[in-house]
Amino acid sequence: GSLGAHPPSPLSLPPTVTSEQIEHLHRRFKQLSRDQLTIRKENFDSIPDLEFNPIRGKIIHAFFDKRRNLRQESDGLADEINFEDFLTIMSYFRPIEMNMDEEQLDRFRKEKLKFLFHMYDSDHDGKITLQEYRNVVEELLSGNPHLEKESVRSIADGAMMEAASICVGQMGPDQVYEGITFEDFLKMWQGIDIETKMHVRFLNMETIAHCY
């Protein structure tokens, strides 16, 4: 069926996303869903630019993750998402507004980092283990056939050790580092500006003439 003339009004979204942007996203949604009411995983196959991306699987997974990203009560993956869900995920990438206060900024940042954390933590146990981390690095480097598995592992191991040293400090000889928790993850990024790296900024929409 058709999606109707106007998209649903996003009462749950903060006012930083303007209605023009929502209209554009709505049109994009319609294009991806081929005029259906919901999008399935297969619809993302029609985006050539996305084919390039080594973590394509994780990104698409994020759209369908029920508890973590869609803020629903149940666990697991949804089969299909509607426009509201689509907007919920896109809202993780909205840019900072000028008039945000400290608390809002902090919450904003935590949200973005949490989204990223879930990309690593594939079994959703709240910890990024060495194996999970290795998986991500392998995916990122999957395009290069010349890189041996051993080299990939040593890159991953080295990175984990560094992370451990930041989070836990000096470890005893028989201490086992279980994994990076979300608090540790936050610690890693303290003082580093990630907000500008994790947003999609729309061009000035006022150049399109519109009247009310």
Binding site: R28, Q31, P48, D49, L140, S154, I155, A159, R201, I208
Partner: protein, 436 residues
């Protein structure tokens, strides 16, 4: 009985007017200036409409840019991957690298370069056609009245007129070429064939209210050459044959198109391929090469993109056309979307609804640039030559250049492309000495 004869008389007068004012000047290659007058009125009306729309906006607006919408709605950070990842390499390289790919992924989901090219170009201001009224809402009574008048003019006056002209044009083409085809091969036959083709093209262009500006006519394609142009719609052919004679290349169709093809090939050596022949690339190249080698034959017309693009960009030129040899005469065609959208979105509209849309638009306005001939250089392969010609056409027409294959309209990205970026990323990591 009186009503019947009155209607017949009106019909006859109208037909006579059409013949006298449009068909005859087309045959003689003369312009009576009716199109120019129509365009002038049209431009004035649209300017007035734009001013009324601008006045209707309450808040003050920044200066309107002319070309933002054609190129995207989101701001892309063009920093190359190396720089951006290097900037983040403070805590831990891979943890931060995921930011880059994550963002690129989201940008692609919001908007990607390729899919964008297969929907019509967005207008910066409304041109009083309902179909382009995406962003515009009710403004004022006066504007709505003008719009209603526009609808009446377009559907009740222009559409029948154009339809009549198109019918006359196609019929004369079939009849004319069949008659000329009866003659034995001679220079007289060639001359007459050119006259018939030109006249019918002119009638058909007028049937679309086409206003075409040709630039650099001294570079017009010559006999024995290959004319190459960017493709936006099936109308492209008529646009070009309006100004010169070409040997067309294409697949044999059924129906009306097939009738036209069979008639025209008797008068002029067009190159029509059966469906089975098209699959055999060598056969195709061989036949085209034979045609080009004969210097007395008309230049062939090819659209190397292989499919209709929405006229904001030029996509990959298939190399087949460039393997034939001979001199290439590039031509750039750029339509003005303000008066009518010429792009044929074949997945959305079939040919009949497409032609209906074209005939109920205001007009088709376009610019055609003839460019200086190009030949393949020493040591250049077909693909490089194709890209060189493509860049030249894109530059001339003011279109963006994309490396993508127009076939992506229907198919998926080739696997060979996929690994490129991943290879780059891993090469970079290895180079940074992170491999122990």
């Amino acid at each position: 009985e009186d009503v019947g004869s009155a209607v017949a008389r009106v019909g006859a007068v109208w037909l006579a007017l059409v013949l006298a004012l449009i068909v005859l000047p087309s045959a003689l290659g003369v312009s009576l200036g009716i199109s120019e007058a129509y365009m002038w009125v049209l431009v004035k009306t649209l300017e007035w409409a734009t001013i009324r729309i601008e006045k209707g906006v309450k808040k003050p607006r920044p200066q309107m840019l002319k070309t933002p919408t054609a190129n995207g709605i989101i701001e892309r950070d063009e920093t190359p991957m190396e720089k951006e990842i290097a900037r983040l390499h403070r805590v831990d390289f891979e943890f931060s690298d995921i930011f880059y790919f994550c963002r690129k992924g989201f940008e692609a989901i919001v908007e990607d370069e390729v899919t964008q090219r297969f929907s019509s170009e967005e207008l910066v201001s409304w041109n009083l056609l309902t179909r382009t009224n995406v962003n515009f809402h009710y403004i004022s009574l006066r504007l709505t009245v003008v719009w209603v008048i526009g609808v009446i003019v377009r559907y009740c006056f222009l559409l029948p007129l154009r339809f009549t002209l198109a019918a006359i044009g196609i019929t004369s083409m079939i009849v004319g070429t069949t008659m000329v085809g009866q003659l034995p091969n001679s220079s007289v036959k060639n001359y007459l064939s050119e006259v018939v083709h030109l006249t019918c093209s002119r009638i058909l262009v007028r049937a679309l209210s086409g206003t075409i500006h040709y630039h650099n006519k001294e570079n017009k394609p010559r006999k024995g050459g290959i004319c190459v142009a960017n493709h936006t719609s099936p109308i492209d052919t008529i646009i070009l044959t309006n100004d010169g004679c070409y040997a067309m290349v294409g697949q044999v169709h059924g129906g009306l198109m097939g009738v036209i093809q069979r008639a025209t090939v008797k008068a002029c050596p067009h190159v029509w391929f059966e469906r089975s022949e098209i699959k055999d690339r060598h056969l195709v190249t061989k036949r085209l090469r034979e045609h080009v080698a004969d210097k007395s034959k008309l230049p062939i017309l090819i659209f190397p993109e292989g499919t209709c693009i929405n006229n904001t960009s030029v996509m990959m030129f298939k190399k087949g056309s460039f393997e034939i040899g001979g001199t290439i005469y590039p031509v750039a065609i750029k339509y003005d979307p303000q008066f009518g959208d010429a792009f044929w979105n074949s997945s959305k509209y079939n040919i009949v609804s497409y032609l209906l849309r074209i005939m109920t638009s205001w007009a088709i306005v376009c610019n055609v640039w003839y460019m200086p001939p190009m030949v393949r250089k020493e040591g250049e392969d077909a693909v490089q030559f194709a890209n060189r010609v493509k860049s030249a056409i894109a530059l001339q027409g003011g279109l963006t250049e994309l490396p993508w294959d127009g076939g992506l309209k229907r198919a998926k990205v080739k696997d060979t492309f996929k690994e490129e970026q991943q290879k780059n990323y891993s090469k970079m990591l290895v180079r940074n000495g992170s491999v122990g």
